[in-house]
Amino acid sequence: MKRKAFALVAALAAFGAGTLSAPVAAQQEGDQFFPLLVYRTGAYAPNGTPWANGKQDYVKYINATGGINGVKIGWEECETGYATDKGVECYERLKSKKPSMIDPQATGITFALTDKAPVDKVPLVTLGYGLAASQDGGVFKWNFPLMGSYWTAADALIQHLGKKEGGLDKLKGKKIALVYHDSPFGKEPIPLLQKRAQMHGFELVLLPVTAPGVEQKATWLQVRQQRPDYTLLWGWGVMNSTALKEAVATGYPREKLLGVWWSGAEPDVKDVGANAKGYSALALNPHGTDSVLIKDILKKVHDAGNGAGPREEVGSVLYMRGLLISMLSVEAVRTAQAKFGKGKVMTGEQVRWGLENLNVDEKRIGELGLAGLIRPIKTSCNDHMGSTSVRIHSWDGTTWKMQPDWYEADKSVIDPLVKEAADKYATDKQIKRRDASDCAA
């Protein structure tokens, strides 16, 4: 036994020396490299997996259709398990391959990478998550919370509630509860909600749920006790379905329950089924298989036997979000190529420029095969978000039904908050706000 142990240690050590000194090189020379941080295991796997598949499928789709102006995309997945230290390890491992950008796929990892990215010149694409303040490109040169942050999400939800009540002023005296994942992800919307509560005179009740969120009995008993007029759900992973089940078990009307866009996908309601009928959540992106793009992906990727996940999953909410992340990253590379040279491999810095000068207008959306499904996205030096448009979709017991109204975050509410938080960050980190010349470059 001892001898075997020795042999094993020796073998592992020898092998270790080999692998650590020669990092994996999977992509081919001359590819535009997309590192794909994912989590397909652990407590958040059910939600992370379709997201990861969407990211991967779009990359494969682009390669199947000739690349970005002829430049193929090299990619490699790295499993983080939603753990920050694993995420950092993945980042460091993939960094040496000159990544175009990185989507950490977790708020915690985003925080850890926000300091490293500027040093390594890797843009962070955090579509719909990450640091709300990083919308401010003047301070956060390398962060791109495209299409929305937790503040724009919270703002849209309050606007939606105002609309339901017949005007924001009708929220006065109402009680709104926030059931949130007790982590930076869940806490981000609180400052905005507090500001809105002050503006409209509603009472905000904060109910934290300890991660991962399998134990919510006490939380929902409190909901039952406080009887809020509306309850906002800010969960991720298993917390969402558990919340819905507890809402059912305590008889809280699902119609009064509204989720953020991370609480409104198929894995969240699948297991609750008909009992979740009436529940609504923000829809950051469209879903379904009707669009030109999805039909094309099914044909060129899945029919060719290249699909990352099962065929049924294509078009689901989180799959589409992953798809959009890759799509916008590809668009950024395309934009960069238009300036720095078509058909060339772009560096991280050039892609960053592309992300900052994105202009996906209606025409381009049509070309991308998503006509009418998303709103135009236009970023700038100061605005790294590009769009705050969002819709609501409701669960009818079997599918998510998109509602027609678009909401935009109220700039007069969001902007001062963003500015304040970004300035505080800049002071803490001793960063100077970028001036006009830096923007022009």
Partner: protein
Amino acid sequence: MLYRENGQFKTSYAADQQIFPIAQDRLAIGLLLLVAFVVMPMAGSEYLFRAVLIPFLILALAALGLNILVGYCGQISLGTGAFMAVGAYAAYNFMVRIDGMPLIGAMLLGGLTATVVGVLFGVPSLRIKGLYLAVATLAAQFFTDWAFLRISWFTNNSTSGSVSVAGLNVFGLPIESPVAKYLFCLTVVCVFALAAKNLTRTATGRQWMAIRDMDVAAAVIGIRPVYAKLTAFAVSSFIVGVAGVLWAFVHLGAWEPAAFSIDRSFQLLFMVIIGGLGSIMGAFFGAAFIVVLPIILDQVPHLLGIPLSTATTSHLVHMIFGALIVFFLIAEPHGLAKLWSIGKQKLRLWPFPH
């Protein structure tokens, strides 16, 4: 044949009480330090520093601290992550609240704060033993997890509850590049490893081990259990706290309480046990095993060109990792350090086995 102590006679007790009484060992450790301090910074890649060596060093330090408590004093703790967190958040607060607080100062103060909290949670050890104590230390884990999330003062009222530090320097030298970070961690680890070794080979260490091996007999020869147990908690938490500061400041840069979750506590306990209880070297072996092995296993299918999905790889890594732990526990319950010393013993006699 080369590894012999024949002819090396000790003429004084001081010489006999050296850490490495055998000349070849002194040479080996000298070479190791030379490689670590001089060769590595010149030859290592950035990935090696940031993703492998820095986390390895910091977690080895934390395991060293834990080993003092578990390996030397016999008090099991499942709350190590908590003491790392206390160190990290305390140091953060000293940094942001006191102008001009140097990194080293914040680090030591963070360690001291962890000491205070560690001693506080060590008090139950005076009455509770073994597994009961192990589970009781989970109270520390869950309480600090909660406190750093919930009490916004600790995070300097950060809206998200995540905090970050920047512009680290020691005596004016910036600790920004991977090499600088690596050297800083390496220095801290070497200093603490030496101090820990000194503690464990003198009266303090003997008191800890006496309490571990037979607490009643220890009391009968005049060792105060209160003192021995609480100093073990204090020293252990101090080192663990400093490791927490390094993990947060140097390795992560920005962090949230999840960085010091219960998984971290288990991970450190694994390191200590796989590496070898009651052995300074064991902490390093254990950290190497636990930090490096999953990274290697992760890359194996890729290297061999086997098209496994990320999820499958990750699950297989879990399985192999778990199986290896059980295997090593069966093969050598006293850990890799014991295996190492058996190996050395054999080498001493080689090539004549008797």
